[in-house]
């Protein structure tokens, strides 16, 4: 017999203060609200309660409320996180600070304009199958696609883009693709059946060289994708093969290039 789950004896609630950004990119204030917190609540529940009770026009994006769609990205006590996956019990006592993502223009309150991400995605060359079998499908081995499947767990919450200092602090949106799209390109480049080569794009247009691998993207990823170690660094190494390694160039010259 397993032990029963820990259950609070009463459904007592406890007031907590939330300091929430109300405003847009030009001006606004951090406004305090009170929410009644019961056991098991997450930050998004509190935001919804504030919306239903105190501020019907409080703008917030959300969909699945289970950490699967990546809509409710925000900065809770200064850390980029999903509101639906941040349990109240996990936060230290005191007021809870909720701000919109910083790397994108604020539209209103907790909602930011993330359209830029979709524009970057459009510029990435799509998947191009190498060898299609007669029955119209591909043959691939599970141990070859394990790598790729890690990257495909991405839910596009853009928390990695938000925390990446190249975008967040240095506003290189025009020149740099950001961690999300290195993950996407890694999923294509390491695909055993992809015939496309994106190394030139990675170096010249996505400017992977801007990444100084300080790993904040990995730290904030709610899907626990090893963005830096498994996606960005291996891509950097592939760019090195093509552009910075005279030995590899010599081998290519003698034996011909594979891709």
């Amino acid at each position: 017999m397993s032990s029963p789950s820990p259950v609070p004896t009463t459904t007592r609630s406890e007031p907590r203060t939330f300091i929430i950004w109300r405003g847009d990119k030009d001006s606004g204030t951090y406004t305090p609200y009170t929410a009644e917190i019961t056991a098991g609540m997450v930050v998004l529940d509190a935001i919804h309660q504030i919306q239903a009770v105190h501020a019907p026009d409080l703008a917030v994006r959300w969909n699945c409320k289970a950490g699967k769609c990546g809509s409710c990205a925000a900065e809770i006590n200064g850390k980029p996180r999903l509101m639906c996956m941040t349990r109240m019990e996990s936060l230290p006592p005191g007021p809870i600070h909720v701000a919109p993502m910083k790397a994108f223009p604020n539209i209103k309150d907790l909602v930011t304009d993330v359209k830029w991400n979709y524009a970057v995605n459009k510029r990435i060359k799509p998947f191009k199958p190498k060898q299609v079998e007669a029955d119209g499908s591909l043959r691939m081995q599970q141990h070859d696609i394990d790598r790729v499947q890690e990257f495909r767990k991405c839910i596009e919450c853009f928390l990695c883009q938000d925390t990446c200092h190249v975008l967040r602090e240095h506003d290189k949106h025009a020149e740099f693709a950001g961690p999300r799209f290195f993950v996407r390109m890694a999923s294509l480049e390491m695909h055993p059946q992809d015939a496309e080569d994106r190394r030139e794009f990675l170096k010249k247009e996505a400017a992977i060289g801007y990444c100084n691998i300080t790993k904040c993207c990995t730290e904030v990823c709610p899907e626990h994708i090893h963005i830096t170690d498994n996606a960005i660094i291996p891509l950097k190494e592939r760019v090195v093969d093509q552009y910075y390694d005279p030995l590899a160039a010599a081998i290519r010259f003698v034996f011909g290039s594979k891709k």
Partner: protein, 277 residues
């Protein structure tokens, strides 16, 4: 700094060094790494300039800072006392100065160390979602940091060096007896130097570039259990522990030098002879 309720801002976030709404001790880790790495640099520089007490008479112990000793005055030297090209007039010769650039370069260009020192020394950024002191930024896209792309070449040399240290570790089982004969034995130094090699191996072979070269560069590893797949999986296991091996091997290498130095100065006898030959 956190924003108090009612703070009227031109936008939701402030900019500048340390600007953040984080209330946790985000500065603790970079500060810790700053002290650790700065301490190591100060100590290793001091040790490298000593040019003495890096080996222990009667044993085959040699400080890893000084190996391979290409030119030098100890029995471990490969060639002569000092390299003919060394500008003795300007700089006193120490064997460490000649070779320390390789392991230092390996760690300097290491993907993991880059994270650590960009954060701890360069505040670029100090911690996640924390403001930075400078607005301009070149990353590793331009000189000088674009040179770090040569990490794999330093890796090749580092692998050779690790092998040499492995040879040193094997040698450290051999001692000279008072009568001038040889003996196999084991000392605290033997254990320290052997462990040093193991940790360095763990660090060197877990390198991101190595992981790429042994298989990461392929889109398909071939059949399950193929050499490529097994090698890549093994290196991946080490790579996942790269931060651990990076820091522990750094500390251990310094500790090895300290031990050899102390032994060399004090003349303590730290070993047990097992049998003579």
């Amino acid at each position: 700094m956190s924003y108090a309720p009612g703070t009227v801002l031109p936008g939701p976030h402030a900019k500048g060094l340390g600007a953040t709404a984080r209330s946790d001790a985000w500065w603790a880790a970079p500060l810790g790494f700053f002290l650790l790495l700065a301490g190591f640099v100060v100590y290793s520089t001091w040790a490298a300039f000593q040019g003495a007490h890096y080996w222990v008479p009667g044993t085959n112990y040699i400080s890893p800072f000084y190996s391979p000793e290409l030119w030098g005055t100890s029995p471990h030297a490969w060639f002569g006392a000092a390299p003919p090209f060394w500008p003795l007039a300007i700089l006193q010769y120490s064997p460490a100065l000649l070779i320390l650039g390789i392991p230092a370069g390996f760690r300097l260009t290491c993907y993991y160390y880059r994270k650590v020192y960009y954060r701890a020394f360069w505040a670029d950024p100090t911690a996640c979602a924390v403001g930075e002191p400078r607005n301009d930024y070149w990353g590793e896209n331009f000189l000088p940091l674009i040179l770090w792309n040569a990490h794999r070449f330093v890796l090749y040399l580092a692998i050779i060096f690790t092998c040499i240290l492995g040879y040193d570790a094997l040698k450290s089982f051999i001692f000279t007896t008072k009568d001038g004969g040889h003996a196999i034995g084991i000392g605290i130094g033997t254990v320290i130097l052997t462990l040093n090699t193991v940790l360095l191996m763990g660090y060197t072979l877990g390198c991101h570039s190595f992981r790429h070269l042994v298989g990461g560069r392929c889109d398909s590893f071939g059949a399950k259990g193929s050499t490529t797949h097994s090698l890549w999986s093994g290196v991946t296991w080490l790579n996942e522990r790269h931060p651990f091996f990076a820091m522990i091997s750094l500390c251990w290498v310094a500790a090895s030098d300290v031990y050899v130095r102390v032994l060399s100065i004090s003349g303590w006898h730290d070993h047990l002879i097992l049998f003579r030959f």
